[in-house]
């Protein structure tokens, strides 16, 4: 009796395997989507919970915890602190990162590999270590009688340790995509280096700058390990307050805080996207 299994054409094997893998792929995708969405969905749902303790199932829905959050000076104060620090970090690290990236692109720098590592090193250091270091080294310093420990400025600088290298790395890559002839054309027509930088280069990389600034803002807004080491009761940021409240006051107020934090990020993203669309439309063919 001839072995009929060998008669089944090879292409059918391939097709069968492809189909199996396709099903597996779809299942896996569902799993990943679920995995990523679980904390998000759970938090969002819980923020509308009417009860005072966190438990499932949610029986009553209301906005009471939103009212509670917005009327609590401690929590809104923390939010304001977070926003102030995030804006400050964004300004500091974007300015420093963009200028340094431009220096790398345009000029000759001796031992440039070494300086690259020096600038990037803080990004690869755990937040715990950075927070500890800054707290210990600068904790006792006072400027004009005011201790800088617990000040917004110190946290901004600490957050810049992560944000600035990120901006630098992104902008360095962005600057490399610029057509150098355009810069030469500007010089050729009489534009000095500073004017060329502000009037020609920056607008050409505006998208890169805005994206990096956004990253810096988000990093600072969400960061809490460094902030934990560097803030006091009055200056604590929202994530720090959330962390401290985790064990003691586990109420839906925390869920509201998480949602509001995420909304702040989402709002920034939307602004950037709208700006980007407007840019594209302005110069589109």
């Amino acid at each position: 009796m001839p072995d009929t299994s060998a008669v089944i054409p090879r292409t059918q094997h391939v097709a069968l395997q492809s189909r199996l893998l396709g099903v597996l792929g779809a299942g896996f995708l569902l799993f990943v989507v679920g995995y990523i969405m679980v904390p998000i969905v759970v938090t969002a749902a819980m923020s509308f919970n009417d009860a005072t303790i966190i438990r499932f199932p949610i029986n009553a829905w209301s906005l009471r915890w939103y009212h509670d959050f917005l009327s609590s000076p401690q929590w809104t104060g923390a939010l304001v602190n977070s926003l102030i620090i995030a804006v400050g970090t964004m300004v500091i690290s974007t300015a420093a990162g963009v200028l340094a990236a431009w220096a790398f692109e345009r000029y000759h720098i001796p031992m440039r590999g070494f300086w690259y590592i020096v600038i990037m090193l803080p990004l690869f250091t755990p937040g715990v270590v950075l927070g500890l270091g800054v707290a210990i080294a600068f904790g006792a310093i006072t400027i004009a009688g005011e201790p800088i420990y617990g000040s917004h400025g110190l946290v901004m600088l600490a957050h810049s340790l992560w944000a600035m290298p990120l901006v630098f790395m992104l902008m360095e890559a962005t600057f490399r995509t610029i057509d150098h002839r355009v810069i030469e054309a500007s010089y050729d027509l009489g534009g000095r280096p500073a004017r060329t930088f502000f009037e020609i280069v920056l607008p050409m990389v505006s998208i890169g700058i805005i994206s990096s600034a956004l990253f810096a803002f988000v990093i600072s807004l969400n960061e809490f390990v460094m902030a934990l080491f560097l803030t006091t009761r009055d200056s604590q940021t929202l994530p720090v307050l959330m962390w401290l409240s985790l064990r003691s006051a586990g109420s839906p107020r925390l869920a509201v805080a998480a949602v509001i934090l995420a909304l702040a990020v989402y709002a920034c993203l939307t602004v950037v996207l709208l700006w980007y669309v407007r840019q594209v439309r302005k110069t589109a063919s």
């Binding site: 270590v129 600035m164 985790l246």
Partner: protein
């Protein structure tokens, strides 16, 4: 040489040296803010911490100036501390491995999709990045306990009879850790995939290979270097985070990060805290250097 020619030559010389000087100074002026941040806010505290880790400690002061290896010694000799180091490494390795597997499959799926779907994949993978770690912790914090969503879902669907709690287990900490490192791993691997010529895959299937064979013989070897980078980055990231394991895991799951925070904020033992920090930094640096030297044999880094 006539007088006007001499004057002109001198003028040109002066202009030349002025311009050359500015060319030399300009980059440093531009880099100054970034370097100040790197050297002053990072370099200085690091040196300070290194020095501090050798100081002595006497309650109730934060530290007493001196020089001793006592704290490093305690790190290695005290079973609690040493166990914490090993536990951190073990947990990070497992989390990195799991992240790598999930991230690889996810990135592969994203890479194979047509362009219009890719944006959705990217948005999905970027979600955990845009959310604060504390929000993530809180999300899982409401998922795992007895009264959390998981328990409710399992009970109401009839899969289990009694409420269960996975909170404060190593599994919960593991899940949280993988969630945190997944986006980074995904983006690294996606860029690795983007560097591969898709036609190689087409050629392989054109020659009659089954999808799994194509994967094993073509795709996997090509992406090996990228795998190493992604793994090491995930490992480093997992090593550095402590909030998630300590919040979601059992109280016995001490990680190095947690110990640092404990020594600093609760015990106020600065030398001990900085000693821990130094060890953590050295461990991270070692992994990075090791990865780079392995990679340098294959590819070239930023020029």
């Amino acid at each position: 040489m006539t007088s006007p020619a001499l004057v002109e030559a001198a003028r040109v010389e002066a202009a030349t040296s002025r311009i050359r000087l500015m060319e030399r100074l300009a980059p440093w002026a531009l880099m100054a803010p970034a370097l100040m941040i790197a050297l002053l806010i990072f370099g200085l505290p690091t040196l300070y911490m290194a020095r501090m880790s050798f100081n002595e400690y006497e309650y109730p002061l934060h530290y007493v100036p001196g020089f001793t290896f006592e704290h490093y010694g305690r790190l290695l000799s005290d079973p609690h501390f040493f166990a914490a180091i090993l536990r951190t490494i073990r947990l990070s390795l497992m989390a990195a491995a799991c992240t790598l597997v999930i991230g690889y499959c996810f990135a592969l799926l994203a890479w194979l999709q047509p362009a219009r779907w890719r944006l959705m994949f990217l948005a999905l993978a970027a979600c955990p990045l845009l959310i604060s770690e504390i929000s993530i912790i809180f999300g899982w914090w409401m998922f795992f306990p007895r009264n959390g969503l998981l328990s409710y879902a399992l009970v109401s669907s009839g899969l289990v009879t009694d409420k269960i709690s996975l909170m404060y287990t190593e599994f919960a900490a593991f899940v949280g850790l993988v969630y945190l490192t997944l986006p980074f791993c995904f983006f690294i691997l996606l860029s690795v995939f983007d560097g591969i010529d898709r036609r190689l895959i087409d050629a392989s299937s054109d020659l009659g290979a089954k999808p799994l064979s194509t994967f094993r013989e073509v795709l996997l070897p090509l992406t090996m270097p990228g795998l190493a980078v992604a793994f090491s980055q995930s490992f480093i990231w997992a090593m550095g985070t402590y909030a998630t394991p300590s919040a979601l895991g059992p109280d016995t799951l001490w990680t190095m990060g947690f110990l640092i925070q404990e020594q600093m904020l609760s015990r106020r033992n600065w030398p001990m805290a900085t000693a821990f920090a130094m060890v953590l930094v050295i461990a991270v640096a070692t992994v990075m250097v090791f990865t780079r030297s392995v990679m340098a044999k294959r590819t070239s880094f930023h020029a």
